[in-house]
């Protein structure tokens, strides 16, 4: 019997959309990166802009007492802060300027390696092009149109702004006697069962019953007991912990 997993109607459809970007290492391991889009980057940029304004404002007030020397120092400072703020933070702080750090972002090369001097300089020098003709006009359009949300500077430097991996907290599973399922589960299915047990607190009770009853028949338990059964299987999958 010839059996295909996909329905024939779906053969011509494009692959489902996802916000993940896979980098394959030479060992054949897929590293999923999550490119960050315009909205969160705009917020991170405004934080950086505000911070720079604050630094410059405070220092200018101090330098104003120094007369002409202060004016000279001030212009040097203006140059340094406006051109080197992003570069120094990105290269020396693992691709994170304060705004990006706040929003949980970081900059990496296209292949996921940490950003270096040349890439950071290029992407920040080309901000000028992105700003044309006013307020990141070109950058915003490029960012909205690119599948990995790159602005022109990112395209030139080969960099990517991604979400940082956040530390995970240990999820709480409902108490149950561990059990093994009667049939083999693939990895996504095991994850789904575990996810069902972990996220039960967020689901309404009716909804978790509804979800569990989908599997009541294959599990060979009455529908009301399916939730407990799935929790038991999840405990079993989790192992002694």
């Amino acid at each position: 019997m010839l059996e295909t997993t996909a329905l024939p109607r779906k053969a011509t459809l494009p692959p489902p959309l996802d916000t993940r970007y896979q980098v394959e290492t030479p060992e054949g391991i897929d590293l999923p990166l999550r490119p960050a889009g315009l909205m969160v980057r705009a917020l991170a940029f405004s934080i950086d802009l505000g911070l720079r304004g604050l630094i410059l404002g405070v220092l200018f007030i101090v330098l104003a007492f120094l007369g002409k020397l202060g004016a000279g120092l001030g212009s040097i400072l203006l140059f340094g802060v406006s051109w080197w703020y992003m570069v120094l933070f990105e290269v020396l702080n693992q691709g994170r300027s304060p705004g990006k750090q706040w929003m949980g972002l970081r900059v990496v090369h296209d292949d996921g390696t940490p950003i270096g001097w040349s890439a950071s300089l290029i992407r920040n020098l080309l901000r000028f092009v992105d700003m044309l003709p006013f307020g990141y006009f070109l950058g915003a359009i490029s960012c909205l149109q690119h599948p990995h949300f790159k602005r022109l500077g990112d395209l030139a430097a080969g960099t990517l702004v991604i979400y940082r991996e956040q530390p995970l907290t240990r999820p709480q599973l409902p108490d149950a006697q561990p059990r093994r399922p009667a049939f083999a589960l693939t990895l996504p299915e095991q994850r789904a069962v575990l996810g069902f047990a972990e996220r039960q607190g967020e689901l309404s009770e009716a909804r978790s019953h509804e979800l569990a009853s989908i599997l009541a028949q294959p599990l060979q338990v009455p529908a009301p007991r399916a939730v407990a059964e799935l929790n038991a299987i999840a405990r079993g999958l989790l192992g002694p912990a």
Partner: protein, 514 residues
């Protein structure tokens, strides 16, 4: 709505990632979304401008106020496209009047200024909720992601204005220079009082253009935020996997059962007719897919790119001899060449070949030798492992020997006199002083290379090398008595005091300068 038909990967995301998914969604359907938006908004904008020609600001304000009404169309298109039923442009436009019916007044009046408009729009339009039910739903939805939805609108406002001003600047930059000359900032500011309405309507038109780009994205982002909230609330991703698992389990059970029922009676026949079933036998010839055909198709697939990458390389090389197709003219040259080759291969030339080989190797060796000689300094400087010690460095004079201080400054001015005076009370100190003075003298006046590790005997050997018998004799006596004193604690005889002091005076002069 069937979750398994979704054209996006359903999983819980952070709110910002959900917005990014909205951007991707709008990218995929950009053409449809933008054309449909342009088709419904441009005529309305034209009508408004024509109607309110004298107050352009009011026209653009009314247009801006009507945005929620326009936004229903992109949302409809997206909600259909989400589950794989992308409507055509005509279908979408025909649907728009129907979409306007539910709660239009509310969304154009008291809900118009809500910051989370795009996030909550699907509740009315897609779920069709109203009144208390809607309020309840909003409460649940807004427990999370409300902040993100508001940020989306705030960012949208800023982006719209940035793009709007950007378009105006672009327009200004592209003006020919002759036209630009007539304009100054005063006239631009005073434009309202003059008869330049068309300019204001033009800038309004820029705003409409900006919305054609931005509004579909805004609606898509709000929609994907809504989807994400529901994915988290209702665990859509889990439902999807569970349904697939049940389907998979059911089909396998059914297949197994069917196979068991069908195969049991026929097993005997199969065994009788075909006792040996190996992968090579052309079994099951009646099937649409025979083993032969499947093997062939596997082979063709394996011969294609990801498995086998064929590459055609073209380059020049000398044509090979083809003895069969030789023409008489071609035959001449190869004949003598062949004879020569045969000659060279023979035994006689064997030793010549060896000789040449030896010579060539010798040439290579000598070339390497010459190279090393040529760069010997460089090699010494950079290749040698141990740094060469600079032997000529002046060794500092030792300040001590056997724990005795040898510097001149520590000795008294008249050594013989002070030794005499010390002798009565402390003969050990007196002898020590004499010996110390002798060493100091040897060190400083005779430039003797004393090392801190030298023994008394070695010092005497060095004194021998000076070839001064008087000094040597004195040194011998003094050293002997000093050793007796220092190590054996044996007092020298009393007459020795005078003897040594006199010896000192005769050797180094009565003043016995240090």
């Amino acid at each position: 709505m069937r979750l398994s038909d979704a054209t996006v990967v359903i999983r819980p995301r952070t709110s910002w990632e959900a917005m990014d998914l909205g951007v991707l969604l709008s990218q995929r359907h950009r053409r449809l979304l933008m054309t449909s938006w342009a088709i419904i908004t441009l005529p309305i904008f034209a009508l408004l401008s024509f109607w309110l020609w004298d107050s352009p600001s009011l026209a653009v304000f009314i247009f801006w106020w009507l945005k929620p009404a326009f936004e229903r169309l992109p949302l409809y298109i997206l909600s259909k496209a989400m589950f794989g039923e992308t409507p055509t442009l005509k279908q979408a436009l025909r649907q728009w009047p129907n979409l306007l019916k539910p709660q239009l007044l509310a969304s154009l009046t008291w809900r118009r200024l809500s910051l989370s408009r795009s996030f909550l729009m699907p509740v009315v339009q897609l779920e069709g909720l109203a009144g208390d039910e809607r309020q309840q739903r909003l409460r649940v939805l807004l427990q999370r992601n409300a902040g993100a939805a508001q940020w989306l609108t705030i960012i949208g406002v800023h982006l719209e204005s940035a793009l709007w001003i950007g378009l105006m600047v672009l327009f200004y930059m592209f003006l020919p220079q002759q036209v630009e000359l007539d304009w100054s900032w005063q006239t631009l500011i005073a434009v309202a009082t003059q008869d330049w309405r068309w300019l204001e309507h033009l800038t309004n038109f820029f705003y409409v253009l900006v919305l054609i780009v931005w509004e579909p994205i805004y609606v898509a982002c709000g929609f994907s935020l809504y989807l994400n909230r529901r994915t988290v609330l209702e665990a859509w991703d889990i439902e999807l996997v569970f349904r697939r698992l049940r389907q998979h389990l059911n089909t396998t059970t059914v297949t197994l059962l069917l196979a068991a029922i069908m195969l049991v009676p026929t097993t005997q026949n199969v065994w009788a007719t075909e006792p040996v079933i190996t992968p090579d036998s052309p079994r099951l010839q009646d099937q649409p897919l025979t083993s032969q055909a499947s093997r062939d198709s596997i082979k063709t697939i394996l011969d294609q790119p990801p498995f086998k990458n064929k590459e055609t390389v073209t380059r020049y090389r000398f044509g090979e001899d083809k003895p069969d197709t030789k023409t008489p003219d071609d035959g001449k040259t190869p004949e003598w060449l062949k004879a020569l080759a045969g000659l060279l291969d023979s035994q006689r030339f064997g030793f010549i070949a060896n000789l040449i080989e030896v010579l060539l190797w010798a040439a290579v060796m000598s070339a390497i030798g010459v190279l090393i000689w040529r760069y010997r300094d460089w090699l010494q400087a950079f290749v040698s492992r141990r740094p060469v010690l600079n032997r000529r460095a002046a060794r500092p004079l030792p300040q001590q020997a056997f724990g005795l201080d040898l510097s001149r400054e520590t000795l008294p001015a008249d050594i013989a006199a002070s030794a005499e005076s010390l002798w009565q009370t402390n003969p050990r100190a007196a002898l020590g002083l004499l010996y110390r003075a002798l060493l100091s003298h040897l060190l400083h006046d005779h430039n003797m290379a004393l090392k801190p590790a030298d023994t008394e005997g070695e010092v005497l050997q060095r004194v021998e090398q000076l070839h001064q018998p008087a000094l040597l004799a004195f040194s011998r006596t003094l050293t002997g008595h000093w050793q007796n004193m220092a190590y054996g604690h044996r007092l020298p005889p009393a007459h020795l005091q005078q003897e040594l002091c006199d010896g000192w005076r005769t050797l180094f002069g009565p003043g016995a300068a240090r």
